[in-house]
């Protein structure tokens, strides 16, 4: 930082000021640096991806990304992510509700704990969950002997890992909306004779619905990302081809065979999925912002 002090205002400052992006100094330096950094670290490397994939030609690309083993990994991703997101929305909403509305002992600890999946390195979460749900683990043994349910090294295990990863997204999306909910709304409804369950379904639920959907989408996107995220899932997945093999592992397998173009092709498809989801999330968040703006 300090070494840059030399070119503070810079000789070209007056010229920039005439173009007038603003009156404060430092536009050229900060913008130039940020753009250069982004280009070198992100833009140029990402361009390499479709370029490399294009070496396969259209037919080769299509065959690579629609190979049965690859398609099985996509549908595993979507199925497990969807189930995990549904479970997270239900329980995440309950957790958010309890944290906002009720007083109980250890509440601030519970609140802090919700962020754990953000902070815990994915590989650590991965091995911990695997050890927990393996057939000799604390929960795995119990589930297998009582319910006959195998968790580790099956799609169920992947779903569990995704629940772990996605939970904070739902809680942290719904929580502020619940906090902003005006008490007057509920008071008005009560004075008009509504019962408590009426108020919950007719007043509170519609208000937090956009937040719930955003939380769902974030948890879903994160789950898809988390399969890309790899660390939390790869251990518990077991990686049986066609059954519990996740997409990024296919990329790594292709890399190890020096099939760079094939790896890039699958990576392109993963990127496309995440862009579509990002778009959906942005639309949902816009909807949520408009809704809360109108209510305020």
């Amino acid at each position: 930082m300090r070494t840059m002090t030399a070119d503070r205002a810079g000789p070209s400052a007056p010229v920039r000021r005439r173009q007038s992006p603003g009156i404060l100094p430092g536009f050229g330096l900060s913008m130039g640096y940020a753009v250069l950094y982004l280009s070198l670290l992100v833009l140029i490397p990402l361009v390499a991806l479709p370029l490399k994939a294009s070496e396969l030609g259209f037919a080769g690309f299509w065959n690579t990304v629609t190979a049965p083993r690859v398609v099985a990994s996509y549908s595993l991703t979507f199925g497990a992510s969807l189930i995990a997101a549904v479970i997270n929305v239900v329980f995440g909403a309950i957790v958010a509700w309890v944290l906002v509305r009720y007083e109980f002992r250890g509440k601030s600890l519970v609140d802090a704990l919700v962020d754990l999946p953000f902070a815990l390195p994915t590989a650590v979460a991965g091995i911990a969950l695997t050890a927990l749900y393996a057939n000799n683990g604390w929960l795995g043994g119990f589930l297998e002997s009582t319910l006959g349910l195998k968790v580790a090294y099956t799609p169920v295990g992947i779903t569990i890992a995704l629940i772990f990863i996605g939970l904070p997204f739902v809680v942290r999306t719904v929580q502020p909306v619940l906090e902003d909910l005006e008490r007057e709304l509920e008071e008005a409804a009560t004075s008009l004779g509504a019962t408590r369950s009426h108020i919950i379904w007719r007043v509170i639920f519609p208000t937090i619905l956009p937040a719930l959907l955003t939380g769902f989408a974030l948890a879903f996107a994160r789950a898809i990302g988390a399969i890309g995220e790899y660390g939390s899932v790869v251990f518990i997945a077991g990686n049986m081809p066609m059954v519990s093999e996740i997409t990024p592992l296919l990329i790594i397998a292709k890399l190890e065979q020096f099939d760079y173009a094939g790896a890039s092709a699958i990576a392109c498809v993963m990127l496309m999925f995440s862009f579509v989801l990002l778009l959906v999330i942005n639309l949902l968040q816009g909807w949520q912002a408009r809704r809360s703006g109108r209510l305020a």
């Binding site: 930082m1 100094p25 940020a34 509305r101 902070a119 008490r183």
Partner: protein, 298 residues
């Protein structure tokens, strides 16, 4: 958080329902969050302190710890400089393509780390674009320490910028404009006006970026090549030990990372609280009720 003040009976649920919901929430969190965390420490210490310490002071583990600390020490200042530059440009000036610029900053959140690792192999690997040139000049990037650093930079650079952009947008540029009118130079404005105003936000972002830098796995796994004692970070060392069925040693290293996560959570709490306090005092505006999830999102 006005909502947490006690509510009159007609505005809340029956005690039974309340107890039931609290019960469900606590049990759910206990099973899905607490148990994995407890398990890490339980497994790490299962064979006693002596073996725990042995697993951590063993040369490969020590070199993994050193590499992780080094990567964090390099990526943090680089990320801080980028975050400040990007936030300054975006929040203090008008220019075309600003939205595109912001989207670009968000990009690593939607790119799988494995894909991030892959692009650097495509560029710098032996069969990559720059591979032959690097080889003839005897420079190793992929499957060596520089690759680990570059991949970490890729996955961590948005954290600080994403904390600072909304904060500086909310604060506005009035104070900087006032300083400019009073004759302050650009760097004087930055050090005396801007930085004191954003220090808590900056620290918050730095904590998140640091946690991610030390805990990154996917991207680093692709570019590191996992050479023991050379390019292994703590997460990779954990993985290798785990795959070799050396569970206690693996969880011992993992417990250090889990401890880091707990420290991160605690520091985040303190900083978010100070930040809210500071914002309320200096700007007299409502602080954001919750630490934004933006930084970690997708």
């Amino acid at each position: 958080m006005s909502a947490s003040s006690p509510r009159p009976a007609h505005l809340t649920e029956a005690p039974v329902v309340r107890a039931l919901l609290i019960g469900i929430a606590v049990v759910f969190l206990a099973i899905f969050l607490v148990m994995p965390l407890v398990l890490v420490f339980a497994e790490a210490f299962r064979k006693g302190w002596a073996l725990y310490l042995e697993a951590i002071v063993e040369p490969d583990a020590l070199s993994a710890i050193r590499l992780t600390l080094m990567v964090a020490a390099i990526s943090l200042p680089v990320n801080i400089v980028f975050g400040l530059a990007a936030a300054w440009a975006i929040t203090r000036f008008r220019f075309r393509g600003k939205q595109f610029f912001i989207t670009l900053i968000d990009l690593p959140f939607s790119v799988s780390p494995v894909v991030a690792g892959l692009v650097f192999v495509l560029l710098f690997g032996s069969q990559g674009w720059f591979g032959p040139w690097l080889q003839s000049n005897d420079i190793k990037i992929v499957y060596a320490v520089p690759g680990v650093i570059i991949a970490t930079l890729f996955v961590t650079f948005p954290f600080i910028a994403r904390e600072l952009i909304p904060l500086m947008q909310a604060q506005g540029a009035e104070e900087e404009h006032a300083a400019l009118t009073l004759g302050a130079s650009g760097w004087q404005i930055f050090w005396r006006v801007t930085l004191p105003n954003i220090k808590w936000g900056l620290l918050y972002g730095a904590i998140l970026a640091n946690a991610r830098a030390m805990g990154e796995f996917g991207a680093v796994a692709v570019v590191s090549g996992g050479v023991r004692g050379l390019t292994n970070t703590m997460t990779l060392h954990t993985e290798i030990l785990y795959n070799e069925y050396m569970f206690s040693a693996s969880f011992a290293v993992a417990s250090l990372l889990a401890l880091l996560a707990l420290l991160t959570l605690a520091a985040k709490r303190v900083v978010a609280w100070r930040h809210a306090h500071h914002t309320r005092q200096s700007l007299d505006v409502q602080p954001q009720p919750q630490p934004r999830i933006a930084a970690a999102a997708v």
